[in-house]
Symmetry: D2
């Protein structure tokens, strides 16, 4: 396994001929080595999507216009040679340069991340602990490239467990009358912690549009149903009442429209008439854990691109 | 494999202690041998459900009150001995007797069938042929204990294929202005054919409440979505627009409320952003085939019990 | 939900007519109320299997031979009336009586358990902690009707985590030269703890035939492959080398023949060429957790019946 | 949907920096528009794999060395403009040119195909008809971009069905003594038919290494088990005897080592103790159909790359 850190770019914008070549050439001409490059075209709306991951070299000053394919290969070899001599790669600069290129030359929206970045994540919880334990244990097992920097609960049920894991826990109680103030308190806390991603691990509270707009960071939620079926509360009771033969769970980005955010991942489990509501809840817990963990991992690995109300997941 | 025909009873009614024992004893005391007996209690509504399948002996005239467990066993042995001597079993009488017992002594609703019955089935089709071919080929392969006695289409597209399989095909064109008359024509035809089950193999037309009430036989439909999500028309377009990660299909009994009938079977398939609507349609065809075929088999094997808007499937 | 404790009997033995009726009648005549009764016949080998679960009343002294069906119902009503008056049910006696009946009158092998029993369980672990945390957290969430009474590790890696959960941890180091002595130490410990079930949560050591025979209690193991494929060590490496498209996990009872014990549960996950061995290991961990947890739950609920090298799982 | 035919290249060879860029630039500089480009690196063996699909323009004579990124885009626009004026694209020449480039400049092995090619396919059958009907009906529904040019059976059971579909059927009976001669007859027939792919639709005969070498075209087989478990004959009987909880099917390229060829696709279905061997066979038929059809589609769409004994499937 080559552990050299990589740059990951997520691009999307108006489709046009040559995008794949122009991105690949830009990287290659600067001595970069592309490890993965996935792209997708949504032909209905004419949008191009790409996830490209590469090992950058130092910033090469090659006369681009003059470089034939052969010359490029030579330049690249030189770059690599230099790199092998230990001349440091300025990944931040490379990311900045690529971002500028993609934005201005290609007209793309771009999100960059480095494979050795460890975004700061906060978990929001309520009383249910299954997703909480699952995420923290996976994180401790090394499954998630991030730092979980704290836990916020509207109840205090998970304080002890959080602190047992060495995580700070802050209770911010929410009720009908204090919601706006409580959300301001949450925002202040998340800023203090430098949070770049919020994961709602069965938080059970709706976040206001104001909260989401002010936060300015993505929020991943797990909904305990196969959306759009059984949106809203008590979906297992609804599923049982309707007599469906499968139950599901849906991980999605939180948006101002409850249960309507872009879906990242979904899965289902088979049920029968023998299963009561409590069995559905139990089976649902397993679904919720695995679906939320998978969505969180894909997000952290820079595999999820949102456009409109949908996602492209480069898995 | 013991090929002796069996009786199958589907019971349901108010729960009460001793139902399992009373059913089993009734059968045993008459020399019957229970092969399968599945039951279910819905504790919320206090309803008992049972599917029991047994090899009946001739009608025994045992003084029930006098029979000790040991005596019963002896009587049963005699009955079996007799049976082994070739004295014919009157299964129709046994079914009648059991039905009377279950209805009057146990207060159950009961549906009886014999394992060697081959109910007469009509297929309703439109233009799409995938479920049609699938059902007919499975039937020819011996998967379905029934007789497919004819095909009814609102278009004539599947006439040639039907006749190629040796099945008669009748076109009854439906349009906005002739629906009531066309349904009367369908009813007359189904009666003439002696149809006991109608399977809508992508028929694409809504059956009126009048049709269903007049027909008096079950109708199984395949809906091309994971109900209740994306009910109604063009579900694959809806699924694509919403960006879901799984598509589904649902087999259900047709009721007057479109897409609301009791669900027999459901399944899903995973999709990604790479799949266009046409891919969803293609993947959906496979789901529709397998889900409808499974539902039809379970129905024909007497495994599906409807109550309220739900089913109990003794699989 | 009716929380009255129930008796569960697992029977198997030579098939004969009337078994279902005789079991049901025996229970009913003693005022018991059958909640679930599943049976299975293996026609190839002529063996009958049953799981029956019932709420016993007190031991009724009804003259069985004289009881007509009607009289039985009356007796049962009386029994229930008595029960409703609070006369205590002697479940231990009822279990003993049924066991005797099933053994001597029916010629069955029988295993009895009470729904409120909480068998004493020991976990055997090594260094990997995913199954360990998963089982303990599910147990704490109330998923498993048992008492986890201690953790035995051949390494000390999970001591702190065990004790953090309030579980005692004993290290018994195993190496090539001390295996027999170490196993004797384990046996002594398990007896001291009164252990009725051992779960190997990625224990990674083979138990000797002597250990299993001496222990006399069931041992459930999780194997990290879809047995019988890739039996033995390093199955994920083997799966990767062979280029299979699915990996699996198998929970089975440990027997003297490694990887050959009766299979309780299996599941698979889809993989692609993109997944390296380390991805297979990560995906495998999720499989191992869910498959082992499901097998353990089924065992604890008295749903698993072993015969020969196979299981009947009444799920 | 843009129906302009595309070129598809499957490349693999020693990994080296810049491959993605060099391929993309080669295509772009010749006015081609890349629609899909998937690649994979097997880091253990240092092999690079790519599937790239593009719409070629006419062969552009652009001075490559002089083309700046901007100039390239302009050239591409001109090419496209020309193309829109109807100047014909010589796809055969473009394929030849690319193949030469990939082979000589990049050191890759390359397989080219055009999206509007319809390879000539022969089905080999025996007595079982489920895969046969399934493949033919999917082909008639437009699922497979190929021509099924004939059916070869070692028995005559499927003659009538083949001819009913308008397909010629040739019986070449195989027995212990005539195998070599029969295979020569098959080879002659396949050459006469111009066959580019053979699909064994439950053919049940082993093809000799000589046959495979002489044929020189790929052969896809469906094995009725989850290989490598239960390789060889009667896998459903083996699965039943072992008491596994899942059965599977495996589509693979036929090689001289029976059951050892590169796996293209696999799937499983859940079974229980209730299922006898005949149920496994029935459920297995559904698996075999769907797994073989998927593998055949992936092959025809140029998504399967073989290396060593494994496949890379760009799905």
């Amino acid at each position: 396994m080559d552990a050299t850190p990589t740059l990951i770019a997520l691009l999307h914008g108006p489709d046009q001929p040559g995008l794949v070549a122009r991105v690949a050439s830009w990287i290659f001409e600067r001595g970069g080595n592309i490890l993965h490059a996935d792209q997708h075209r949504d032909r209905e709306v004419g949008v191009f999507f790409q996830r490209v991951e590469w090992q950058p070299a130092f910033s090469v000053a090659v006369g681009e216009g003059a470089a034939s394919a052969a010359a490029k290969a030579t330049a690249a070899s030189h770059a690599l040679a230099d790199k092998s001599q230990g001349r440091p790669v300025d990944r931040a600069a490379a990311a900045r340069d690529f971002s500028e290129f993609a934005t201005h030359s290609l007209g793309m929206k771009v999100r960059m991340q480095s494979s050795d970045a460890r975004p700061r994540v906060a978990l929001f919880v309520s009383k249910a602990d299954h997703c909480f334990h699952d995420l923290v244990l996976r994180w401790k097992a090394g499954d998630f490239p991030c730092e979980i920097v704290g836990v916020v609960g509207n109840h205090s049920d998970l304080r002890e467990a959080s602190e047992g894991y060495g995580l700070r826990f802050v209770q911010i109680a929410i009720n009908a009358s204090n919601k706006a103030a409580a959300e301001l308190e949450q925002i202040a806390l998340l800023r203090e912690w430098g949070v770049e991603l919020v994961v709602l691990a069965r938080y059970m509270q709706v976040l206001s549009a104001d909260f989401l707009a002010t936060l300015g960071a993505p929020v991943i939620n797990i909904h305990h149903s196969f959306l759009p079926a059984f949106a809203g509360g008590r979906p297992y009771h609804q599923a049982h009442a309707r007599g469906v033969k499968l139950i599901g769970a849906t991980a999605h980005y939180a948006t101002r429209d409850l249960d309507e955010g872009p879906i990242i991942h979904q899965d289902v489990a088979r049920i029968t008439h023998r299963h009561g509501v409590e069995d559905l809840v139990r089976k649902g817990r397993d679904l919720e854990k695995s679906v939320l963990a998978q969505a969180m991992r894909w997000h952290l690995e820079g595999r999820v691109l949102v456009y409109g109300n949908k996602t492209v997941v480069f898995d």
